[in-house]
Symmetry: C2
Subunit: 381 residues, 2 copies
């Protein structure tokens, strides 16, 4: 039995992870679950999966849950609780499915223990890729991608040598505003931005898809995960989200990984790798797919994508600033404090205002993240 | 340096193979070339690639070439010459690119010597799959597919376990008559059938593409090559010939291999496997592909495809009869002796007239092939 520590169990990835664990309950068991504040769902999950520990970020909610569970499992709270459980818990696999920068610190604790990391938290690699990959090598920790795009690339690379990669071709659905003009984007509403055509995800990532920042973050993530320069990573728009990504090799051969969109597939692969186990989560019937289309992304319309490529090229703390500014800007947009096109504007201003450092260590990253958030919060638009 | 024995050097696969060898002349050298009768091209190839031997099937043409080459290399002739060179020659890799049943005997000689076989001759596995695969295991001979479809599957399976295959999805361009009705097919001319939309190939295989028998032969070939039952092999029509084939795994994940159509890519892979070497034979630019479409094949219209699936299910000598009858029928069509839709009719009649045997050995196969040819030649349509 492999014991799983699931960070972010009440989010979209968390819920899907538990579906995979339920299906394979003969090989996986839940060691601990964590959530921010949704204790209603967390209580249900605890009752079904019997973890030894739960961590609730919100301390009041943690107390509430403790009363509800009545000793059924140990309840920890706050960021300290997250660190405590990743640092000292008796588990085999960390599923890192927190949203945003918050996922970084506990993921690093787990890497330092040489655990297998099923990584859904892309901000970990975006903000601190250099440190994280270095630590993973040092502590012999396997980082297995859960993002459908990176899982696709990872699957295409099984049995292949990394030095034979010509380039990665990361597919992008293009989000809900693919067909809108730049002018139209001025007036989009939060409700429209939350309607993703193919994937059912949390709010933050859904807005990131609408701005295509999500794809930008994935490009930076791929850069670290597969140790490739930015000239080796292309983004191609593929509205059907069937081809999850591709690898082109130096001989001109291209491998792609495909399926109907379902996060349970890459989650399962990250948990069972190098094995594939039989499951019926997705069924892709080619004759009904009709057509798969591909075209170039519009970097003028989706400025966040351009900002991300630029931040990757810049290196140092630039991606950390990009990420932190984006988190604040998306929050502001969701709270209707700014308009859709002000998201890239805020990020751009933050990148221009904060000094980009090349020396990177964990404290520098934490400080840079904090500084960026403070600045972006106060920036006029 | 790896020494290559190229059977069928003046055909489409042969010419492409020599292009690959020219590009990688630091690691490959030509040991021997063989052709049926095109000594004009063969002479040029000898002058460029300096093989130790050439074999010309046509004995008169062999004499002519001998005079032309004037001692530059040793000229053998006839089927005996082919067997002689495969059985006793000093080479590392056999590229088996003869057309039709003629490829079987020399390929078997090479397998018995434990050579690597780059197999482009699909009839070898169609007519005698059971024997050939058994011998390959016994003599530890690697059979590497050169057909773009089987190469695609082979590439998708690198690093994966065969037991995790849910099914193979073999793509078919559908040939030049994809959009025609069954009624239209009654009147197609040889010239129309020879116009393949995507691939530039020899006459026999081009007609096989027009009838979709080619896809049927590939299904039977895949059945032997990947040791899979017929319920595990699907055909899907994909007119653009960009996705060369796919593998669906038991976890629902699908891997595909893609590129612009160019035979040099699978040829190179079969020669260099497990390595991939840099080359610029194909360049696939996704944004210009526009769309990839997929739909089910019409088994009523393409009766050859149905006949092939049925022969595979029947087993024994049925695929051998199918193949031999098809070779004769295609020949008759190319000679304008029969109409396009009479190709499947002749094959069907042959399959109904000749007893299908379950005990298979090399002599049974030879006899069955001969008998089928004789019968099909004389069949009224």
């Amino acid at each position: 039995m492999k014991k799983i520590l699931l960070l972010g169990s009440t989010g979209s990835i968390g819920v899907n992870t538990l579906e995979v664990i339920r299906k394979f309950n003969d090989i996986f068991e839940v060691f601990a679950l964590t959530a921010n504040s949704n204790i209603t769902l967390l209580e249900k999950q605890v009752k079904e999966f019997n973890p030894k520990f739960v961590v609730v970020k919100d301390k009041n909610k943690a107390k509430e849950l403790k009363n509800l569970l009545n000793g059924k499992c140990i309840v920890l709270s706050g960021s300290e609780g997250l660190i405590e459980i990743t640092k000292n818990g008796d588990y085999d696999i960390l599923v890192s499915a927190l949203v945003g920068f918050a996922g970084l610190a506990p993921t690093i604790e787990s890497i330092k223990r040489g655990k297998r990391i099923a990584l859904a938290n892309k901000e970990t690699l975006v903000a601190a890729g250099e440190i994280v990959i270095e630590l993973a090598h040092k502590y012999n920790s396997e980082i297995l991608p859960v993002d459908s795009e990176h899982s696709a690339i990872f699957q295409c690379l099984v049995g292949e040598e990394n030095k034979t990669i010509e380039k990665l071709i990361i597919t992008a659905s293009g989000g809900p505003f693919l067909r809108k003009s730049f002018e139209d984007l001025k007036f989009v509403k939060v409700e429209d931005a939350l309607k993703h055509p193919n994937w059912d995800m949390g709010n933050k990532i859904t807005i990131d898809s609408a701005t295509m920042m999500n794809k930008g973050l994935e490009v930076i993530e791929a850069h670290w995960l597969f140790n490739l320069g930015k000239d080796k990573i292309d983004v191609v728009v593929h509205p059907q989200s069937i081809v999850h990504s591709m690898v082109e090799f130096i001989d001109g051969s291209i491998k792609a990984q495909l399926s109907m969109p379902d996060m349970k597939l890459p989650i399962q692969y990250a948990l069972t790798y190098p094995k594939r186990l039989e499951s019926a989560f997705v069924d892709t019937h080619f004759p009904t797919l009709k057509e798969l289309t591909f075209f170039e992304p519009d970097f003028n319309k989706f400025q966040c994508l351009k900002l991300a490529f630029d931040a990757m090229t810049e290196g140092g703390t630039a991606p950390c600033i990009l990420n932190a500014a984006n988190e604040i800007a998306v929050d502001k947009f969701l709270n209707k404090e700014i308009k859709f096109l002000q998201i890239p504007e805020l990020i751009k201003k933050s990148l221009e205002s904060i000094e980009i450092l090349n020396k990177i260590d964990f404290d520098t990253i934490l400080e840079c993240d904090l500084k960026t958030r403070e600045l972006t919060l106060t920036l006029d638009t």
